[in-house]
Every structure is written in structure tokens, then in C-alpha cells.
Homo-oligomer: 278 residues x 2
Amino acid sequence: MLVGGIHFFENDDPYLIAKKALRVNLSDLASMGAEPLGYLLGIALPNKNFDPDKWLSPFVDGLKDDQERYQLKLWGGDTVSTTGPVTVSVTAIGQTENTVCLSRSGAKIGDNIYVSGTLGDAAAGLVVLREKMDQEKFEYLIKRYHLPEPRIKLGRALLEIATSMLDISDGLLGDISHICRHSNIGAEIESKKIPVSSALGNLLATKADYSSLTWSGGDDYELLFTTSPSNDHVIKKLSGQLGIKLTKIGKITEGHKVTILDGEGVEIKFNKRGFSHF
Amino acid sequence: MLVGGIHFFENDDPYLIAKKALRVNLSDLASMGAEPLGYLLGIALPNKNFDPDKWLSPFVDGLKDDQERYQLKLWGGDTVSTTGPVTVSVTAIGQTENTVCLSRSGAKIGDNIYVSGTLGDAAAGLVVLREKMDQEKFEYLIKRYHLPEPRIKLGRALLEIATSMLDISDGLLGDISHICRHSNIGAEIESKKIPVSSALGNLLATKADYSSLTWSGGDDYELLFTTSPSNDHVIKKLSGQLGIKLTKIGKITEGHKVTILDGEGVEIKFNKRGFSHF
């Protein structure tokens, strides 16, 4: 459920809002190893000071483009009016090839922890927008915030290999904590191994205080998964086949604690668990 | 999608809001001849001047009671905050015994038009609430407004018999127009045959100007269906078996017009198509 003023700026392009609303749901399917089939859409539109046609036209274009891109259909839904902000509720339906799907609860002690892509970009893109920084210079980060790329093929390929998986929506730290809680284990992550894009690197070169975005920033919708060390070679091969960076960032440990180590192997203390949207 | 201040009063009991949000969706499944299996729930809760725990506790009780009543499970969902009113989005999933389900598009010329239960009660209940009439006296009507009864068993039984079906959410006139448009036919309805509850009869005895609620009032969630005249005896038998009043109110005609006849067989002119919520 995406709410104007909470999950997106009320003056954001409806074309991008439509795509993001769909994609965050497709990412959820991807994290279970499922392939999307169709979706249902509820929209509440403001009944005052709002031009529904003007807003819906690009919104529908965004849906149309992503329906084609991801080969899925709109199965139904509802459109209502509200005294509040634009509210978009998407329910995406998918299926796995197996009768089972992946969950957060299967991680085992000794498993390696992997992430796809790079982390912190979306949160940094939001910072760029909120602090009115140079949008042209940080276009890549803004795009990562507006347009997550659900890792559907990767999710399906990992169905038989990963022991647990989710998509990073709250931030690496918050989400690995979810896996630990559901799997009843701990985790140790080496912060220097967390994959960072060159665009985020450029931002951090001048604003080092945002470096925590790599583990606390949400909205990346990259896959976080655990797998036996015996699969390291399979993961490497898969990365090459799909053209998606897959990085080993830590391992599953005994206990229940999530530890993040700095470049010298010293534990980083933190008080912000995960990521809050605005 | 139900929005506070639009589809329910903001001070309505959350226990009843939960039930109504579920039931209007179950009614949609019933109208397709489907049996409910599970549902997904999105809730947006106000981030100011609102006590989420106080609101959610009876809301969850309402969900729990109706999950038991209708034997269905909560499969997932999302809870977010909003600067607007409480917004509840339910997606119910069901299945039919056949590979097909019933739609609005199969009505044939000569078919009889039936409705289940009585019409106008829910809209009259809303009038009672809005005009602060005697709530005790009209308790039945208020209950019909707050707690629709999805006709799941009836819907399933009609799967093989009806040519078209929907659940009356916009009002008889608006909804029969949907069937006519989708089936490319017309309809003639005898207003004197529209089934009226004794509770609504009591209200109309003093407020005759509300008599149009029977064909314009929404929110009844009774089933409206068409079927061949050869099935009249099957419908009668079904009504007895299920203990649900099923009333023949008119027939499908050539053309594209919906006609409502008064007690003398004279066409009633109207300018209000269907029913607007508040």
C-alpha cells in the first residue's frame, strides 16, 4: 500500500508511482521465488483539489508499460474517493514452479549471506530529492528510488538453492534481523563487503555521514538470501548468466545477534534499526 | 476499498468495519459462484489524533469472527500510515468448482430476473443513521447497512443455472444496467414485485418518499441474476433448501433499455441512476 506524502511525494510523476506500486509487489513475489501472473489494484483518489483524469492518464501508462515488461495482467480492483491523499493498494499474484516457496525461516548456521545489486542507492536518491541536491548529477540514485527492479529471474533461480530469502525494503540491517528472528539464528556482516554503486560512492565522497545508508537505507528491493557455502560456485555462475552482481557479505552464526563489522573487523554500534520512509 | 468518511462513518465500530470490508468482498466472490479461500488486507491508519491500538483491537476481533464464520484465512497484507482517513483494502481469493465463473455478460432475451432477500434495507439503514431517526425501532435496517450477508451458498448453487449474476452494491437499477450493458440486452422490472422487508415497509409507511430506495439504494449485497424460465421450479426449490427468499422481479427484453413499471404497468421515470454512498 503506497500513500501520498508517506511513500511518495504528492507531486511525483504518477507514471513512476504506478510502476513503483507494481514493482514493490513483484519484488515480494521474486523474494519467494515466484513468477508474477496478475494483480489487483485499489486506488483512492482525493475528492477535492485534484484532477483525477490528469493524474490517472500517466498512472495508467505506467501500469501498461510494466504489464508488458513483466508479462502480467490486471485482474480487477476498485477505484474510490478519499478525503485524504492518493492511496494505491496492489495485490500481486504469482506462482512457483515448486509447490513450496522461499521464506525467511530456513537460514542455517554456517550459511553465507548474499545480496544482489548494490545497496543504499534508493535511500540516497530520496536524500538527494529531499535535500534538493543536484538531480542531474545523482540521476542514477533518484532512478533507483523511483524505479526498483524486481529480481524475478534471480528469485526463481534461487528457489532450489537459497535456504531463506527476502527483498530489502526496510534496509539491510532491519531485513537481516527479520531472517534471524524467523530462522532463530544470528548473523555477522562485514560492512566493507556491502556492494556500493559508483553513484553512491560519488555522493559519499562529499557526504561521508550518509555511509550508513548502505545498511540502514530501505527501498532498494534487492534480494537478500542465505545459502550453503557449497553453493558459492553456483551463485557465481548464476551471477554471470543473469548479469546481476551477487555479493557475499557475511555469514549466519549461532545466537540471535546481528553484528556489523567495520573495515578492521570491529563491531559497529548503531541505534537506528532499519529505515523509516520520510 | 473502504474509506473513512466515504464508505463508513469515522466513528463506526471498527468491529463492524472489519466485517463489512470482508463481507463486501466475499459477496463479490458469491456473485461469481465462487467459494472464498483467503484474503489479503491493506490498512492505512491516520498518523495523527488516532489511537491505533484502540482501533485495531475490535477491528481484529471482527476479522477473526468472520474468518471463522466463512472459513477463510488471512494470507498477507500491509499496514501503513496516512495523513488521511482510515482506509481498508481487502482482496479476497476464491475458487469455483467449475473452471468458469459467472459474469454479467450472459443474460438472454426471455430470461427471468431474480433477486435474493429484500432490497433497499441497507440504504434505508444509512438514512436512519444520517437523519438520526429512532435507532432501536429501525435496528434491522441499520444492521443490514453494517453487516451484509454474502450469499455464498446461493452463488455456488446458481453457478450452473444462472446466465448472468452480480451482487447489488450500487442499487438494483444501476446494477441491472450493468448486466444489460455487458449482455447487450434490455430489462423490464415490475416495481411492485421488488421484495421489501417489513422493517423497510414500516419506514415507508411514514416516509413514502424513500420508496425509491428499493431500486436505487445500494449496499444490499443481495444477488441479482438472470435464468431461463425453464428453471423457475429449480429456483423455487433452491429457495426452500437454502431458506433464502428468491423473487422474480422482471424479465430480459430486446433493446438496451431498463424499464421500471409501477403498480399499474406504467413506466416510472427516474433521473437518479443507482446509488451514491454518502
